[in-house]
Amino acid sequence: MASIILRRLLATVPVMGVVALFVFSLLHLSPGDPATILAGDQASPADVERLRDALGLDRALPIQFLEWIWRVVQLDLGTSIFTGLPVTDLIVQRLEPTFSLMGLTLLFSVLTAVPLGVLAAWRANTFSDRAIMAGAVLGFSVPVFVVGYILAWVFSIKLGWLPAQGYRPIENGFWPWLRNLILPSMALGFIYIALIARVTRASMLEVLGQDYIRTAKAKGVSRRGVLFVHALKNAAVPVVTIIGIGVALLISGAVVTETVFAIPGLGTLVVDAILRRDYPVIQGVILFFSFVYVLINLIVDLIYTVFDPRIRY
C-alpha cells in the first residue's frame, strides 16, 4: 500500500510541473510589462526598476521559471502586491472557511445524492424516478448564485432561521459554525447532488441487471440488502469517480458561493486578487487548488481498491 501511494505521489510531479508552467506563464502572457504589473498602479518608474532587479525579471524566462519553481518548492509563493503579506500566509489564513464549506458540501451532497440515485434506479421509470431526474436537470441548469440568493431570501430574510452572510470559525463553537455554513453548502451542493444522483442511478441500473443480484434475491436477501449492500458496492466505482471529478466543480463553485454569502475563504481571496490584479496571490491560489485537486484524485484512486478488490495498481 505504502509503495502504491509513493508511486502515485511521484506520478503527480509531472502533472504539477505542467500546472506550475501554466501558472508561471500567466504573468508573462498578460499584456504589458510584468514588472509594471507587479509594481502596481501607484509605482514610480524607479520602483518598477527596483522590483525588476529584485525579482530578476530581466533574466531569461527559463531561468526565471526555475528560480520561481525553487521558491515554490520551499513554500514561498511570493508577496501580495496589495497587502504586502506573504501569499503562503494569506492562503493558510483562508483555508478553514473554504475547506469547511467544501467538506460540508461534499458530505451533505453524497448523503443526499446516493440514496436518491439508488431510489431512482430501484423505481426506474416510475413517478419517483422521473421526479428525481427532473430535479437533477434543474440542479444542472440553475447557476449557484441564483440558488444561493433564493435560499438566502427564503430561509434568512423571510423566515429568519439562518444567517445570510458571514462565517464563524469552528473554535467559537460547532453550532455557530454550522449555522453559517448550511445555506452556502446547500447552494453549492445543488449541482453536485444532481450530478452524483444521475451517475448513481445509471451505475445502479446496470448493476441491478447482473446475475449476482438475482443470486442475492434467490438467497432471500431483503430489498434494502440487495440495493445498499450487493448492488451499491458494485456500483460505487463510477460514483466515486464522479465525486472526485466533481471536486473541480466545488472549487469553482466555492469562489462564487463565498462571494454570495460573504465568506472570507480562498474564493473571496482570489476574487479580490483578480479585481486588484494581485498576480502573486492569483498564482498562489491557482497552484494550491491544482495541488488539492491532484491529491483528491489520488485519494479517489485509492478508494477504488476499497470498493472493488479486483482493482490493483
Binding site: D211, K217, H230
Partner: protein
C-alpha cells in the same frame, strides 16, 4: 411414495410488451416434485422453462409480469404470500443455482461473506458460528483448503469451483427444494460430470427435491427421475425419464431426442454423418446418411508445422515478463481439401488460440502455417490480406459476431468490398443467402430480427463470400439449441460436399465432433496429445486424457446411469502458466495405426487416471 413437496398447478406467466399489451409465455403448466426426487424440465430456449422457475420463486419483476395459478410448498401457497414471508422462503425452503457460475457470485465480496450472509439470513447464529458453518459447506462441496478459500474473492475461483460455491450457498439452510437452472451448461464436460455427481450425492445426503432445468437430453438422462418436456410455454409430454427415452409420444420430444448427439452412433462409418431431422408437426424422421466422400487426398489445403503461441504476462513498473502462457506448444497437422479436422479439448487448452494463430489474428511465436505454398506466419501485411481470402472464420457467438447496425446484406458484402469485388456483390449476397438456407430478401434485415441459428447461417454465408478453401470454425454450434445445432451441422456438411471446403472444427462437444469430422486432434495444455482418423480416436482411444474426455460425455441413455464415479475434489485443467526459463519437454509420438498417433505420456497421467 412420499407426498409431493412442491406442487405447481396451472401456472401462467405473461410479460408486458409495452403499453397494456401482454404476451403469454407460460400457458398453464402443472407438475409436482417429491422428496428426494429429481424432476427435469427440458426444452429449447424460449420454451418458458426458466421463466417458470423464476415465477415460482417470485423473482420476476412485479410491474412487468403477471403470474397466476398456484404454487404450493407443502401446505403453503407461495403466489399469494406476502413479500416479506416469501423472502424467508427463498434460500431457506427453496434454493436456486444458475447457469452462469462466472457471473452469479458477487465479485466485490469474499466467498466467505456471501456464504455467511446466506446462513445468517435465515438462521439466528453468530458470525463466528456461521463462518464455521460456511467452512463445513465448502468441504461438503469438496473444495479443499476451505478455511483459507473463505477469504478469497470469486475471481480466484474457476467456473466449476464457483458453481460448487453456488451449490454450497444453496445448501446453506438445508432447503427442501433445489432449483437448478442449467447449472452445467457453461461448464466443460469433465467438470459437468463432477457437478452432476455432486448434486446427486448431496441430494441423497440432504433428502433434497431437485427441479432441474436444462436443454441437454444427455444431462436429463443422467440425472432425472421424471422429465417434463416444455415447448412454447406448454408441457407437451411428461413421465418417467426411462419411459420418455424409450418411447416418446409427442413429435416434439422425438425431434428433441433425435437431435441429441450420441457417442458411438457413427461407429463403423469413416465419413461424417448427417443428423436425422424430425418434422415437429408429423414426427417423421428423415434417415441420416453418411455424407459423400469429399476428401481429396492429393490437395493439402493447410499444413501446420510446430506452431507455437505464447503470451507474456508482465508486471511491475517496467513491464518485466514474469510468466509465459504457453497457449499453443509445437503443434503440427495437415488438412486436405474437403476434409474436416476437429480440434477438441476443454476451455483453456489452447484450441481457440490455435485457430486464431492459423489466421494470424493472434501472432504466433514460432512455427509455420502453410496455405497455398505461402507461410502465413512470415507474410507482409499486403500478402497476408491476399492470403486471408482463402481462409475464413466462423465464431461461436452469432449474437456478438454480427454488427447490430449493419444489415445482413452489408455484413456479407463486407469481405467482398474489402477485397475489391464491388461489381455484382448484391447478386452474390442473394446467392449466398440461398446457399445457407435463407432467402435473398433477408439481406435488408438486421441481426436482431433473426434467431440464433439464422444468425449463424449468416456468419457462414459471410465466411463463404470469398470462396475460401479453408474455414476455421470456432465452436460454431456451441451456443445453439440441439435441433438448430443439428441443422447447422447438416448445412456445413452439405456445403463441404458442394464446395470441397476444408474445415478446422474447434469444439468441446465430443458428440458433435463425432458426427462432423473425418479426423480428430485432442488438445491438452496447448499440445496435441492424440490425433487420428475419427473412428480410430473414438473407437480406440489411447491417451488417458482422451479417455477421460470421452467418458465424461453424458450419455443420452438413462439405463447407463448407475456407474458412479468417486467424487474427486476437482480434475480441472492444470495451468499453462510457466516461468520465463521454462523449456517445454521434448515430446515423442507413437503410431497406433495408420494416421493415428498418440503422445507418449508421463507418470503423472497414470496417477491421475487412477484417481478417477
Amino acid at each position: 411414495m412420499t407426498s409431493p413437496i412442491l406442487n405447481v398447478e396451472n401456472l401462467k406467466v405473461a410479460f408486458n410488451v409495452g403499453d397494456d399489451r401482454w404476451r403469454q409465455i407460460v400457458h398453464g403448466i402443472s407438475f409436482n416434485v417429491r422428496e428426494k426426487e429429481t424432476v427435469a424440465i427440458v426444452g429449447e430456449s424460449g420454451s418458458g422453462k426458466s421463466v417458470s422457475a423464476m415465477a415460482l420463486m417470485r423473482l420476476l419483476p412485479e410491474q412487468s409480469t403477471r403470474v397466476s395459478g398456484s404454487v404450493r410448498l407443502a401446505d403453503k401457497e407461495l403466489l399469494t404470500l406476502h413479500e416479506e414471508q416469501m423472502r424467508r422462503v427463498r434460500g431457506d425452503d427453496i434454493a436456486m443455482i444458475f447457469q452462469e457460475p462466472m457471473t452469479s457470485l458477487n465479485p466485490v465480496f469474499t466467498v466467505g461473506f456471501q456464504l455467511v450472509e446466506a446462513i445468517r439470513l435465515h438462521r439466528d447464529i453468530s458470525r463466528a458460528d456461521a463462518r464455521m458453518e460456511a467452512k463445513k459447506l465448502l468441504e461438503k462441496v469438496r473444495i479443499s483448503d476451505a478455511d483459507t478459500r473463505l477469504d478469497d474473492y470469486p475471481d480466484a475461483f474457476s467456473g466449476g469451483m464457483r458453481q460448487r460455491v453456488m451449490i454450497a450457498m444453496a445448501l446453506a439452510c438445508n432447503p427442501k427444494v433445489l432449483i437448478a437452472d442449467e447449472p452445467t451448461t457453461a461448464l466443460d464436460v469433465t467438470i459437468q460430470a463432477e457437478i452432476l455427481d455432486l448434486i446427486r450425492t448431496l441430494q441423497d445426503e440432504e433428502r433434497l427435491a431437485v427441479l432441474f432445468i436444462t436443454h441437454d437430453m444427455g444431462v436429463v438422462a443422467q440425472i432425472a427421475d421424471r422429465t417434463l418436456v416444455m415447448y412454447e410455454g406448454n408441457i407437451v409430454e411428461q413421465g418417467p425419464t426411462e419411459r420418455l427415452f424409450r418411447s416418446a409420444e409427442h413429435p416434439y420430444t422425438r425431434a428433441l431426442l433425435a437431435a441429441v448427439p450420441r457417442l458411438g452412433e457413427s461407429a463403423g462409418h469413416t465419413r461424417p454423418m448427417r443428423f436425422p431431422v424430425v418434422d415437429i408437426e408429423t414426427g417423421k424422421v428423415d434417415s441420416p446418411g453418411e455424407s459423400p466422400d469429399t476428401v481429396d487426398d492429393g490437395r493439402t489445403v493447410l499444413e501446420v508445422v510446430d506452431l507455437t503461441t505464447r503470451y507474456p504476462i508482465t508486471s511491475g513498473v517496467f513491464n518485466r515478463v514474469i510468466l509465459n502462457v504457453h497457449a499453443v506448444e509445437k503443434i503440427s497437422f495437415t488438412l486436405k481439401a474437403g476434409e474436416t479436422l476437429a480440434l477438441v479439448g476443454e476451455s483453456g487448452c489452447g484450441k481457440s488460440t490455435t485457430g486464431r494463430s492459423i489466421l494470424r489474428l493472434t501472432q504466433p511465436t514460432s512455427g509455420s502455417v502453410i496455405v497455398n505454398g505461402n507461410d502465413i506466419v512470415s507474410l507482409g501485411p499486403k500478402q497476408l490480406r491476399e492470403a486471408r481470402r482463402d481462409m475464413q472464420m466462423v465464431f461461436q457467438d452469432p449474437f456478438a459476431s454480427l454488427n447490430p447496425r449493419h444489415t445482413l446484406g452489408d455484413a456479407i458484402k463486407e469481405p467482398l468490398y474489402a477485397h475489391g469485388f464491388k461489381k455484382g456483390a448484391s447478386d452474390r449476397v442473394a446467392d449466398l443467402l440461398t446457399r445457407v438456407g435463407l432467402t435473398p430478401d433477408m439481406s435488408r434485415r438486421y441481426p436482431h430480427e433473426l434467431s440464433g441459428g439464422q444468425r449463424q447461417r449468416v456468419c457462414i454465408a459471410r465466411a463463404l463470400a470469398l470462396e475460401p478453401k479453408l474455414i476455421v470454425a470456432d465452436e460454431p454450434v456451441a451456443a445453439l439449441d440441439a435441433s438448430i445445432k443439428a441443422k447447422v451441422v447438416n448445412l456445413m456438411l452439405d456445403l463441404q460436399a458442394s464446395m470441397q471446403l476444408a474445415y478446422l472444427f474447434i469444439s468441446h462437444d465430443m458428440a458433435v465432433v463425432e458426427r462432423i469430422s473425418h479426423r480428430v486432434a485432442v488438445m491438452y495444455l496447448g499440445e496435441i496429445v492424440e490425433i487420428g482418423p475419427r473412428s480410430a480416436v473414438f473407437g480406440n482411444p489411447q491417451h488417458p486424457y482422451t479417455k477421460k474426455l470421452l467418458s465424461a460425455v453424458p450419455e443420452a441413455d438413462p439405463s447407463t446411469r448407475s456407474k458412479k464415479r468417486s467424487l474427486s475434489t476437482s480434475t480441472e485443467l492444470k495451468s499453462p502458466f510457466r516461468s520465463v526459463d521454462y523449456r517445454p519437454p521434448a515430446r515423442t509420438y507413437r503410431t497406433v495405426s495408420k494416421g493415428h498417433q498418440v503422445q507418449e505420456w508421463g507418470e503423472e497421467w497414470n496417477k491421475e487416471f487412477y484417481c478417477m
